[in-house]
């Protein structure tokens, strides 16, 4: 009896796991028919087929990375909402950091150029004398 309960619980938890990963995957993949929608939200026929396929692959024990690779191999990098950190995409990821760096650089230069000019003690006493 106990064995059956454990088995039942195990199958439930496995199932829940598949559901969670299915949700996460279909939300992170683009529906190529209606390109501004993710697969999870799309009711296009192709999206339905793709979702069915993803569920089948999850149940067959494929990892998330394998399923993502499957999609990218067929539809290109475009199907992923979050572009990978490689190749030309590097520009996409690093540009904000570079811009920030440039801003900081310019800002620090600007500050330096408005520093008070250096004067000698002699010049200072001269100025004080003049102001008196």
């Amino acid at each position: 009896m106990m064995r059956y309960i454990v088995l039942l619980l195990l199958s439930f938890s496995l199932h829940a796991n598949v559901d969670a990963r299915y949700k996460q995957l279909t939300e992170s993949l683009r529906c190529v028919v209606c390109q501004n929608q993710n697969l999870a939200d799309s009711n296009a026929e192709l999206a339905m087929d793709l979702k069915k396929l993803i569920r089948e692959q999850l149940q067959a024990g494929k990892t998330d990375a394998e399923i993502e690779a499957f999609m990218v191999a067929r539809y290109g990098e475009f199907v992923k909402y979050q572009p990978s950190f490689s190749g030309l995409n590097m520009v996409l990821w690093l540009l904000p950091v570079l811009c920030l760096g440039l801003l900081i650089f310019l800002w620090s230069r600007k500050n330096k150029s408005t520093d008070t000019p250096k004067i000698t003690a002699e010049q200072l006493s001269q100025a004080e004398h003049l102001l008196k």
Binding site: Q35, L46, D49, L50, V72, A73, Y75, G76, E77
Partner: protein, 176 residues
Amino acid sequence: MKKAIWLLPLLLFVGLAVFLLQGLSKKPNDLPSPLLNKPAPEFVLPVLNQAGKQFSNKDYLGQVWLFNVWGSWCPSCLTEHPVLNRLAAKKVLPVVGLNWRDKDELALAWLAKYGNPYTLSVTDQSQTAINYGVYGAPETFVIDKKGVLRHKVVGPLTDELVQEKLLPLIARLKTE
């Protein structure tokens, strides 16, 4: 030097404007296919209207052929159909249809009504279409003698496209 820095925002703006301007002329529906110049995905599928007969992409190794995704449910396929009929009449290469998500009787009625440009059509629910990265019908692939995917057209073929792009490409692939 100080003046040059004040020019920077202007330069950045011009750069951004040029970048965005060239984006306007791009067609967002034309996705680059990662499958181009790779061996065409394999399939063995039943042939429409020939009970028990199957066709595999390997059956046409050694010739250049056209693979066209269509369905009787697809309005753009109807737009494209006369172009495909004219191309097939030239008899320059076999044209294989992928009858996608269709019912045999509807597909056959459609071909009877509008003409059948296909050497043969295979029927597929979605598996093969997905393997070919199809996201809407019609789509057309040119496959070379070695079975490599060489060109992909998304959306309906036009006479101009056939004349200016496909026929020269096919002629070149035949000599390879």
